[in-house]
Structures are given as C-alpha cells and as structure tokens.
C-alpha cells in the first residue's frame, strides 16, 4: 500500500464558472473597472479645466456624445451594483454588539444606504441642483 495523493489543479482562468456564487463575486469585482474608468474621466476633466475654457468646453461637448452617454449609463449601473454589494457586506465586517446581542445586519447595511442618500443630496446641493 503506497501513499500517492492525487492533486487536482484548479483551472486558473475558468474556476468562477463552477458555481453561481463565484460568478456573483466576479460581477462585484469586475464592476470596479467602471468606477476606476470614471475616476480617470474625472481626472481628465480636471486637467482640461486647468488647460483653459476652450479645452474644458471641448471636454463637455465630448461628454454629450452617444458613446459617452452609453459609458455613463453603464458606469452608473456598475457603480450602483458595486456599492450595493459592498453595503450589504458591511454587516459582516462591522458587527455592532449591544449587551449580549448584535444589532441586526440590516441596520448596519441600512445605515450605509441612508448615509449614501444623504451624501448624494449634499453633493447635488453643492452642485447647485436645488
């Protein structure tokens, strides 16, 4: 009798097709690419603003192109999905113990959603929407 354990390798590029929970995880991770791309767009906008009025107006005109509108729509959906998945995960990372019990997870996640809404209104207020 010999000991010769068989090692089965995990396919490095296709493992996430093995179960829907892995696909959900990859969706959460992949949506951050849109958030990164939008950050780059904001930096480019700042750079154009610094370059002068003509440069900035050309940038604003480019934002109104169909391709830009499609990108913004996709980035918005991705950002909302990304934020929601992380807000839902906060209850695991930040449990709050009160006496012998823990606050329900929905309270922790809910507080993040409330903060999100409040901060969004603050940003809209600062942007002069109201």
């Amino acid at each position: 009798m010999s000991r010769r354990p068989l090692v089965r390798e995990v396919p490095p590029t296709s493992w996430f097709f093995r179960h829907p929970r892995y696909l959900r995880y990859m969706a959460r991770e992949v949506t951050c690419i849109f958030i990164g791309a939008y950050c780059v767009l904001l930096v480019v906008g700042l750079q154009r603003l610094a370059a002068g009025q003509a440069s900035y107006e050309a940038f604003l005109a480019a934002l109104r192109s169909p391709a830009s509108i499609v990108f913004h729509a996709l980035a918005l959906v991705a950002a909302v999905y990304h934020a929601a998945t992380w807000f839902n995960a906060t209850q695991k990372a930040m449990p709050v113990q009160v006496g012998e019990d823990f606050l329900p997870g929905t309270v922790i996640s809910g507080a993040h959603y409330v903060a999100w809404v409040v901060l969004s209104f603050v940003v809209l207020f600062l942007a002069g929407v109201f």
């Binding site: 068989l6 995990v10 179960h19 892995y22 695991k92 990372a93 930040m94």
Partner: protein
C-alpha cells in the same frame, strides 16, 4: 416506508493502480428519508466493499464526511436524498489531495490550524486554586459563533482563493484565530497576528464569502476574516501614523 432507486456517480481513485481519478456509477435502493452517507453505506455493504470514504457520527458533529455533492461542499450525513433529483455526483472535497476515492489528505489544514495557535494564551498563568476564569454572557457572545467550527474543511473546499493559492491559511484556521483573539481570557493576539496579518493570512482573502455559505455549523468565517482585516489595518495605522499610540 417510501423507497427510491438512487443513482450515484462516485469519483474513484486507487493510488496503487490509477494515475487519474474516474467516475463509477452505482444504483442503489434507498429509503426516501436517507442522507447521501446512508446511500454510500448501502453501496459499500451490498455492492462494492472497496469504496473508501470517511464518516463517524452521522449527525453533523464530527465533520468527517465532507465531500462534494453535485459540486457543492456538503457533509454527506447532512445531505438528504430527497433534495436531489437524477444522478447524484459525489467527489472528494475540492482543493485537497485525494488519498483514495472520497478520502482526502487533511495534512495542510492541520498544519495551518497549528500555526494560528487556536487555544487560550492567558496573560498570566492561573493556578487551579484561583477558581474559574469567569466571563460575562456578553463577553461569551463576542466569539461564541466562531467556536462552533467542527473542522470539517467544507469552507476550504468552497474557497477559490485556497484552491488557487494553497499557501493561504484559509477560512477555518483564521476564524479560530479570531475566536481566541475575541476571548476576554486571551492575550495571544500579537502571537497570532504574526501568521494572521500576512499575505498568507487574512490579506489573501478577497471576500468571496463562499466559506460562510457552505458552513454546516452556521459559523461565518467571512465575517471573522473581514473583522481581522479591519483590526489589522487599525494596527498598521497606529504604527505608522501614531507611533506613540501603537503600544
């Protein structure tokens, strides 16, 4: 009692004769209320005595009968046949070397478990004369769920990080480190951090969360690891931004 014909497709591997593992199909008449482990026992008793698998308690306490059932890490004693239709595919726990048939080699997990020092490390040794080391219910609740781990390794089989990067200390061992870190009677966190707060430790975890979804003891390893990341980050900030406050 209702009976049904159950078809099992079991991954077989004999280290003496095989270079690869292959599936073998069994058909066995089972009672409707049986679990997968009962079906395997029936196969071993009446069809194929050479089939190898581990089990002991048959009540989801010992953690011995972990295996992949239709691709999901499960305790075979906790997987009811009535919840499955068609052929049930049974494989050894993923991410562990196959010793023989459904028996895997747990050596790597046992080694990692040892490294996180999963036991109380008190500040000062107490003599028996000093009596019980008391704890309030609130102090107990802080870590209680993490002490329910039965070391079944299902979380390792579910964790893609462990499968792709075997040096990862992994969910159950790190969760037990957290369990003792959270214990009011313990003072061993600094020793455990040498293993836990490393790239092989909590920082290898990318929060897939599969560990918590498959745990048969309702432990939440994903929460333990994220909390350890936060406390390790606070350690780092204190050390680099507030060196006067780190000790």
């Amino acid at each position: 009692m209702k009976q049904r014909l159950v078809q099992l497709e079991v991954l077989r591997y004999n280290p003496d004769t095989d270079s690869e593992a292959s599936f073998q199909r069994y058909e066995v008449v089972c009672q409707d209320e049986w679990v997968v482990l009962d079906a395997l026992n029936k196969v071993k008793e009446s069809i194929d005595p050479t089939l190898n698998y581990r089990w002991s308690c048959h009540m989801a306490v010992c953690g011995s009968c972990g295996m992949m059932i239709n691709g999901e890490p499960k305790l075979a004693c906790h997987a009811f046949l009535r919840d499955y239709e068609g052929v049930i595919r049974i494989e050894p726990l993923a991410h562990f070397p196959i010793e023989r048939d459904l028996v895997t080699a747990p050596d790597d997990f046992m080694e990692k478990l040892k490294r996180v020092k999963p036991y109380l490390i008190p500040q000062q040794k107490r003599s028996l004369d000093e009596g019980e080391n008391r704890q309030t219910p609130a102090q107990l609740m802080k870590f209680r769920q993490y002490s329910m781990c039965i070391n079944c390794m299902l979380c390792y089989a579910a964790c893609p990080e462990y499968g792709l990067t075997p040096k990862f200390i992994g969910p159950a061992a790190l969760t037990l480190a957290h369990r003792y870190n959270q214990d009011s009677r313990d003072a061993g966190r600094a020793e455990r951090q040498e293993v836990a707060a490393t790239h092989e430790g909590v920082w290898e975890c990318t929060f897939v969360g599969a560990c918590s979804e498959v745990c048969p003891a309702h432990v939440d390893p994903a929460s333990a690891l994220q909390q350890m990341k936060i406390s390790s980050s606070i350690d780092w900030l204190k050390e680099h931004l507030m060196p006067w406050g780190s000790k």
